[in-house]
């Protein structure tokens, strides 16, 4: 099934088309989400929401970009929503502690090990992924898409709907920031 047939099938609500979409893109969506949210459960949740959103709003897809570009865009948006929601839960948990209410313990994610990293690089990758958590959103997205999904700067610019030079700038700043973070952490 080529992309045109797939989109036509999705617009008609055909299950085989939806199944093909999921089978073809589930790893792309899951891996992208995993790189940003750094938790397998949350990443699966995001992935499910992405496909549900695609199914419901396929009519809004104009075909000006590739379907994969659209999927990346929805995935990164939803993943950032998860991060923001975690931050706001953390803040309200702190307030509850201040006012003496017993609430859920503040959740600090443990060190994240990406399953696709080779064994000899796992320790370093865990340090890098922890540092990535501290990046501003745009830098985080650009760096993750480039490093974990091997997207070129051109492809990243299409996902982020910005220019290639803007992506170059984001990557440059991301690396600078990561260096600073790692300098503090590395003995």
């Amino acid at each position: 099934m080529n992309e045109t047939e797939l989109i036509q099938g999705l617009r008609k609500g055909e299950e085989p088309a939806f199944r093909f979409l999921v089978d073809t893109y589930q790893d792309l969506v899951f891996n992208t989400a995993l790189g940003i949210v750094q938790n397998a459960e949350d990443a699966e949740d995001v992935a499910q929401e992405v496909f549900i959103q695609v199914f419901r709003s396929i009519d809004r897809f104009k075909g000006e970009s590739k379907l994969s570009t659209w999927l990346y865009r929805i995935t990164t948006t939803r993943s950032l929503d998860v991060l923001r929601s975690r931050k706001s839960k953390k803040r309200s948990g702190l307030l509850q502690r201040l006012f003496g209410e017993e609430g859920e313990p503040l959740v600090e994610l443990p060190d994240f090990q990406h399953p696709g990293v080779a064994l000899e690089k796992k320790e370093n990758a865990a340090l890098l992924l922890q540092a990535i958590r501290k990046l501003p959103e745009n830098q985080k997205v650009a760096f993750t898409l480039h490093k974990l999904e091997n997207l070129s700067y051109e492809e990243v610019s299409q996902v982020m709907q910005t220019s290639v030079s803007a992506v170059e700038s984001l990557m440059h700043r991301a690396k600078q920031n990561l260096r600073k973070i790692l300098e503090k952490g590395v003995g």
């Binding site: 199944r19 929401e49 690089k121 370093n124 340090l127 974990l148 260096r179 590395v186």
Partner: protein, 104 residues
Amino acid sequence: MNPEKNKRIEEILSSLDGAERAQAPSFFYTRLKARMEAGVPQPRPFILRPVYIIASLLVILMLNMLVLLGSSGSADETITEQEVEQSIAAEYSINTNLTYEMNQ
């Protein structure tokens, strides 16, 4: 920065190079279909989020305060003791003039 530390940092920065794509969990499609058939709960409309409710209440409170301050500022007449007496007297049908003469 010393060269050793610099080298270490460069190694860390390149540790994701060549990483394989993580695979979606087994039976992902099955769980996805089950979720769609169960009906995905609709996200709460933004207007019902606590921060917007609190913000709206604060705005209403401020508007009320502005109205109250505005109405108390525009009252030109001050209520005198005599007027208070007269109004009470009128309510209870008391002759205030007699009270005044007695006080003199």
